[in-house]
């Protein structure tokens, strides 16, 4: 039986997907099947397991799926497994009433429908894929368009006859310039002409073929240690060093970092490395704060020294009168108008433009030269890209599952009271009472309305609160920032909602904002 079958099998590649053993003639397989169903064909083959997948019938349009036959070998020489006697099924195949043919009782029971039921175009593709590759080797070589007709048989004969008569050697094109190597060795693709020899271990072979195999390679498998209890795990947890296990641990490009980098690029400062370190950042933050404080203090001192009229006359060009303290005093003595009245009088001469310049709201004054000079991507690093069309550094990956735990989530919660106390955000009752008592005495002292009036007039950078609200608004801008960049007057047209829900860090950082620093910087220039 084996000998009668073996010539009928050819190994044919089925569209490059899988290799199958296909019968050339379906009738042979049919005969095999019928014979096998009569005898118990368990002892038919010598090899251990033969799995025959019978291909589609060629000639007839009706495609049958012939039964899968699995043969077990009976001799025990390779009995690495225990011979289990399984009750054989009562039948191997059954007559399917749908197809009217014998169908295998195991495996895929649904037969492939006939060709007339295939979707359009499938038949032609199958036919094209099944076409055998032409065989035979050519004795001639191509002339690549130089010599049309040179590979015709007739042509060859005539050339050969003329060649023998003339004995003139036609320059032979070497045989390697044939079509075949040109196809195989393309310029870009190196085809694997012969299958690679691979020596797989037993486990890998099992895994590749699909035989039952353990999930883990038994060689690589390590015994599982006794697991710790969750209590022990909790107390033995150690913070991993330098391990970024969440993308949220990544240092985000905050304002300070970006500004520091921009300053380093323009050569104003020098950084130790590529990125500003934490120390450098905090140093920068502190320095910026100090500069701002210093400047505000200087302004205040100047105001007190020269008097409010002289101080603010800078922004009232129309006020031509003398604004020195003596002149103010003299005017007071002449007309009885005190300093506040004179100040109000002066401000009535102030133009709208001057007012806006004074309050720091004139867009025509470049207030943050560095920010204006920063590159687009640096600005985007601060404000993020356009959220509608995210461009660069879109931190909020829309598909990401947010991990709210920071890298320090296992650290004990800091003592908030001490923290707030230390930062002056909270004071004890005694201190409060002391302050209140002091304020009461101050209130008694504060009878001088002039000074109060002078305090009430506000220039922009004098007040932390105003700056904070500016900053808050700027941070709130998350979309269309580029429009706002090109015409920043839009920013001010919106109302100034006070965001009350500042987080702790924002509350800490509220005093140190961008614009203040930059104004300081401008002054330094």
């Amino acid at each position: 039986m084996v000998s009668s079958i073996s010539p009928a099998w050819v190994l044919c590649q089925d569209n490059g997907i899988s290799r199958r053993i296909v019968s050339v003639d379906g009738s042979v397989a049919k005969r095999l099947h019928l014979q096998g169903s009569k005898t118990s064909f368990a002892r038919a083959f010598v090899t251990s397991i033969w799995q025959l997948k019978v291909g589609l019938h060629h000639s007839s349009g009706n495609v049958r799926l012939l039964p899968c036959i699995k043969c077990e070998n009976s001799n025990k020489e390779g009995s690495s497994f225990e011979q289990v006697s399984v009750e054989p099924p009562p039948y191997h195949s059954y007559l399917d009433s749908t197809s009217g043919q014998l169908e295998p009782a195991s495996g895929a029971r649904a037969s492939i429908p006939g060709q007339e039921f295939w979707p359009e175009g499938t038949a032609s593709r199958v036919r094209a894929a099944r076409a055998p590759e032409p065989m035979g080797a050519s004795t001639t070589s191509p002339s690549y368009g130089q010599n049309p007709g040179s590979r015709r048989k007739k042509y060859k004969a005539s050339v050969a006859s003329s060649e023998t008569s003339e004995t003139s050697g036609v320059p032979d094109i070497p045989d390697d310039v044939l079509e075949e190597p040109k196809e195989l060795l393309s310029e870009y693709v190196v085809y694997q002409s012969e299958p690679e020899e691979e020596n797989l271990s037993h486990y890998e072979m099992d895994k590749k073929i699909g035989r039952p195999h353990p999930f883990i390679d038994p060689k690589a498998k390590k015994p599982v240690e006794e697991p710790l209890t969750s209590e022990e795990l909790w107390w033995n947890w150690r913070k991993p060093e330098k391990e970024q296990w969440s993308r949220w641990q990544r240092r985000r490009p905050d304002v300070e970092t970006v500004f520091l980098k921009a300053m380093a690029e323009t050569g104003q400062i020098k950084l130790y490395g590529d990125h500003p370190t934490m120390t450098e950042t905090s140093l920068y933050r502190a320095r910026r704060h100090i500069y701002k404080e210093e400047r505000l203090k200087a302004e205040q001192e100047r105001l007190e020294r020269i008097g409010p009229l002289a101080y603010y006359s800078e922004w009232v060009k129309a006020w031509k009168r003398d604004t020195s303290r003596e002149a103010v005093q003299k005017h007071f003595e002449e007309t009885g108008e005190d300093e506040n009245t004179q100040l109000i009088e002066m401000f009535t001469h102030q133009t709208d433009r001057e007012y806006r310049i004074m309050m720091g709201t004139d867009v025509r004054i470049r207030r943050d030269p560095l920010a204006m000079r920063m590159r687009e991507d640096q600005i985007k690093e601060i404000w993020g890209g356009d959220p509608v069309y995210p461009t660069i550094n879109y931190i909020q990956d829309p598909d990401a599952v947010i991990d709210f735990r920071g890298p320090d989530f296992h650290e004990p919660t800091p003592d908030m009271l001490a923290y707030l106390k230390e930062h002056g955000k909270i004071i004890s009752r005694e201190e409060l009472e002391m302050k209140l008592a002091k304020e009461k005495t101050e209130e008694l002292e504060m009878t001088d309305m002039d000074e109060a009036m002078a305090q009430a007039v506000d220039i922009g950078e004098n007040d932390d609160e105003g700056e904070e609200s500016d900053d808050g608004e700027e941070e709130k801008i998350s979309r269309n920032w580029s429009i706002l960049k090109s015409n920043p007057e839009l920013r001010k047209s919106k109302g100034k909602p006070k965001n009350n829900n500042l987080s702790l860090e924002e509350a800490i950082d509220d005093s140190e904002n961008l614009t203040d620093f930059l104004m300081d910087f401008e002054e330094d220039e």
Partner: protein
Amino acid sequence: MLKNSFLLCTGECYLHVPVQQPIFICKKRNRSIKSAAAAAAAVAYNATSSSAAAAASNLEISSASSPSSFPLFQTPSSLQPTPASELEPADPDFYKIGYVRSVRAYGIEFREGPDGFGVYASKDVEPLRRARVIMEIPLELMLTISQKTPWMFFPDIIPVGHPIFDIINSTNPEIDWDLRLACLLLYAFDCKDNFWTLYGDFLPSADECTSLLLATEEDLLELQDHNLASTMREHRQRALEFWEKNWHSAVPLKIKRLARDPERFIWAVSIAQSRCINMQTRIGALVQDLNMLVPYADMLNHSFQPNCFFHWRFKDRMLEVMINAGQRIRRGDEMTVNYMSGWKNNLFMQRYGFSSPVNPWDVIQFSGGARIHLDSFLSVFNISGLPEEYYHNTGRLSNNGYNFVDGAVLAAARTLPTWSDGDVPPIPSIERKAAKELQEECQLMLAEYPTTAKEDQQILDSMPEARRTLEAAIKYRLHRKLLIEKVIQALDVYQEQILF
């Protein structure tokens, strides 16, 4: 399927005369008759050439008396040799270069006779309800130009700004399609890695082409047809002028090297003329009338009763060659297509370089007033159908062995001056008289030719190594005479069998 059927050729020669198709002409691309034996078989249809018929009958007798011809006693694996198996199979690379570019051929093989390539069935095909694909050629291998402006090329092998496009663009959009296609073909030969640089080796070379563009002046004189000869001179002159205009000494090298001499250009024009397929294709939503050069499909020869046809499969942009639905194909049958329907022999000669004695569309100009009764003539020869589609009722009313009626008789039915007046019956004596007058006119026509058909046949037989064009020219005049003789015979038969 292409490779194994010719392995078992025995030395014996079987001659299968296709009796089921009396109107069957197989014409090679380059010559009209494929081999000596096939020539004998073809000539054996005509009762005039008695010697050839005798040779053919000898062959048949010898094959019938050979012991192994009885099919039951032969082993089923051994394949009976067919007329096709005497021809040489094509070079293996001919298949390979196409196979790797997803050309597919099913159940056919390309064979090469002394007269060029032909396509033959390598297995029997039962008549099928639907047309069966035998060849698939992808668009990427073809050379195509749209028939009208704007010129579009599929595949577009001409880079933008290449001067060959200016040359193509300078042609007359109405008449110069062959020049455009020749330019494209020559350019494809120059393209690196183009399929046609490989396929061009299997095209007929200049000395194998029968196109009259390559004919010499004496070949044209041998045509014995002044109109055709002058037309061919004009065509040749047109191609030469085109070459001189565009391949003058100042053209850049990339143009000059395409056709350094006018012979190569005229060869390309003749290839374009004889192998062009005009089809309407659809690519996506774009419907285009194209002049196409299709590899492999152009190896199919012409027949007036073709068994194949072309079909454009737009889904994957392939040209399919399909067997006619319901057509029975025997192993070794030649697969043929109809190049042009309704063309006379001189048009076939002008464009393709071949002619046929059984062209059912050939025309003889009669000037006399004699007429025969059309319906009687048709019924004598058992011809049915409307004048545009006359066909011979084989097997219904006539016996199968009767193969007098062929394309020439159909041509006679079309070209003879006839009358038909409702139910008015013909008067036999008048009919006979008219037939005799027509016969005399035909004899006068034959007498005008300087040679007779027999002399032409002798000339052909005497020079087997003649130039292809000369051979084609002599065959052309021979076929003309054979047609006239066939008409005379048909009128004889008509006089005998006219119904009373």
